[in-house]
């Protein structure tokens, strides 16, 4: 439960920040390939033991490194000169994400006797965490979210456009870099202990933006709360649906509920309302 809360909180806040700084409603750790990058790092960390470094450290560390790497790969693929094409950003995010996901599947396939664990983790699961893991996730998520919240006003300005933000005194390049690092950190923390959980980072910010407006000073804390609550609720649903089947991976439930809502959002956007 506690792990689920921090995982959801992290994904929610990271999604809100990405949608804001890329000014794109589709941006999220999942769509931009960050989750896949982090999960490849985590999978490598789980399968190959690095001497002298405990897996509690090596798994999140590798997840973070791969996550940041993916972020910059996707970002630089979509950059022409100093301008970033938002269409290309999404497309390269999806392409790179698919490639990395395939590598994770390949690793899973080759994992042999540890197959079952990896498969289960890969579908997103918040069960079976011990307290040291929970503490680590909590610390990383809280730290990353704090960094993002301390830039809430700058993020607001960047939502108006990079030129506007610069004119309001924001050092856009540095701020964006800091925010991308912070969201990578939070995503990596969430993924390496809970696997790839889609749609939380996409949908929670959208719902809350409709409810409380786009001001990140209130939106970001609410996304933490909302994301955390959403995961716990999905976990509850998972327990109710399948009391006898063992625990259903939570990634399945978040997508089962989240995907239809996402489709609804797409339809609504077509009718020309802002977000």
């Amino acid at each position: 439960m506690a792990l689920g809360f921090f995982v959801g909180a992290g994904l929610g806040v990271a999604g809100a920040v990405m949608q804001a700084i890329f000014r794109n409603p589709m941006a999220s750790p999942y769509i931009l390939g960050l989750s896949s990058g982090a999960s490849l790092g985590a999978a490598i960390g789980m399968l190959f033991v690095i001497p002298f470094i405990p897996t509690l450290v090596s798994v999140p560390l590798l997840a973070f490194i791969f996550c940041v790497g993916t972020m910059f790969l996707v970002y630089s693929l979509s950059r022409v000169g100093s301008a970033v094409s938002m269409e290309t950003l999404l497309l390269s995010g999806i392409a790179v994400g698919a490639l990395l996901q395939a590598m994770v599947s390949l690793l899973t396939y080759m994992a042999g006797d540890r197959l079952e664990d990896l498969v289960f983790w890969g579908m997103g699961s918040i069960s079976g965490a011990d307290w040291s893991e929970i503490a680590l996730v909590a610390a990383l998520v809280i730290f990353g979210s704090f960094v993002m919240m301390s830039h809430a006003k700058e993020i607001n300005a960047m939502m108006m456009g990079d030129a506007h933000a610069m004119d309001l005194g924001v050092n856009v390049r540095n701020t964006r870099l800091i925010l991308l690092f912070a969201s990578s950190l939070v995503t990596a923390a969430a993924v390496c202990f809970a696997g790839v959980i889609g749609f939380v980072g996409l949908i929670i910010p959208h719902i809350l933006r409709i409810l409380v407006g786009p001001d990140n000073r209130s939106l970001l804390p609410l996304c933490m709360l909302g994301g955390g609550t959403y995961i716990i609720a999905c976990d509850y649903v998972a327990h109710i649906i399948t009391p006898n089947l063992g625990i259903l991976p939570i990634g399945i439930i978040t997508a089962l509920i989240g995907a239809p809502y996402f489709i609804y959002l797409l339809r609504r956007k077509k009718s020309g309302v802002g977000w």
């Binding site: 804001a20 006003k153 300005a157 030129a163 309001l168 005194g169 001001d215 802002g274």
Partner: protein
């Protein structure tokens, strides 16, 4: 107010601005005019350090912009950027409140003084009636007013405007520039307008600067600079400037493009 000293700028060895040297005087409306692609928007970027000059410097009072933080610059210089399309549903008041950002710490909200300045800014541009409307549902002219109010909330000494009339209806163009003209006269606000809109610039600017081939072609009082020869060279149009008897303002009469008039003679 500001001195631009021997400023040159290039993008990957392509010269955009070449030895630009001029001063912006206190309380004036200065028009920087030139055809598209002449480097005028780049010049504007250099004036508030969104871009950094390759050679030369920009002085604000005694201080080199290079020695100031971006936040410090934003306390003195406000900008109305060319595009103001917003996809997020910020309210008018939230957008205007962003003008106080350069004065706030990261977690601080608006102080009583901030709120006073914000109200006052919305009042001066006449948007107090719709503070709770969403910016993404407004017309181009209304959005422009909101951004002007945001700029005023920065309590700037200098206002830079990039093509303020570009996306506006004719009547909205007059409204926005009348507003700016009033502010400049009543509050001694210094305004720099970058534009290729000759008639509007002639009407509202005290001085204009023409940029041609990345250099200053002419600089001075509007009626001295916008001569038929200068407009022909820089804009490739046959035009002249007269005092309009009805309004008493400068009126640019555009006759034809030079290309076409050469053909017909």
């Amino acid at each position: 107010m500001m001195d631009i000293k021997n400023l040159s700028f290039d993008y990957r060895d392509k010269i955009v601005l070449d030895q630009i040297d001029f001063s912006i005087k206190d309380g004036e409306i200065l028009g920087i005019l030139g055809p598209n692609g002449c480097g005028k928007t780049t010049l504007l970027g250099n004036l508030n350090r969104n871009l950094r000059p390759k050679i030369g410097c920009v002085l604000m009072g005694e201080k080199d912009l290079e020695d100031l933080k971006k936040k410090e610059i934003a306390r003195e210089i406000a900008v109305i950027p060319q595009t103001n399309e917003v996809r997020f549903s910020f309210t008018v008041k939230e957008v205007v409140a962003m003008g106080r950002m350069p004065f706030q710490d990261s977690f601080a909200g608006e102080s009583g003084r901030d709120l006073e300045i914000i109200e006052n800014a919305m009042d001066r541009v006449g948007i107090s009636e719709f503070t709770e409307r969403f910016i993404n549902t407004m017309s181009g002219g209304e959005r422009q007013r909101v951004i002007i109010a945001r700029a005023l909330a920065q309590t700037p000494k200098i206002l830079l405007m990039d093509e303020p009339t570009l996306h506006l209806d004719i009547s909205a163009q007059f409204d926005v520039l009348n507003l700016i003209h009033d502010l400049s006269r009543k509050e001694k606000l210094t305004v720099v307008i970058v534009s290729h809109d000759l008639p509007m610039a002639a009407r509202y600017c005290d001085r204009v600067m023409l940029i041609h081939n990345h250099r200053i072609h002419a600089l001075g009082k509007t009626e001295d600079v916008l001569t038929p020869e200068n407009m022909r060279t820089v804009f490739n149009v046959e035009a002249d400037l007269v005092k309009d008897s009805k309004t008493g303002r400068n009126l640019v009469r555009l006759f034809d493009s030079c290309t076409n008039s050469e053909k017909s003679t």
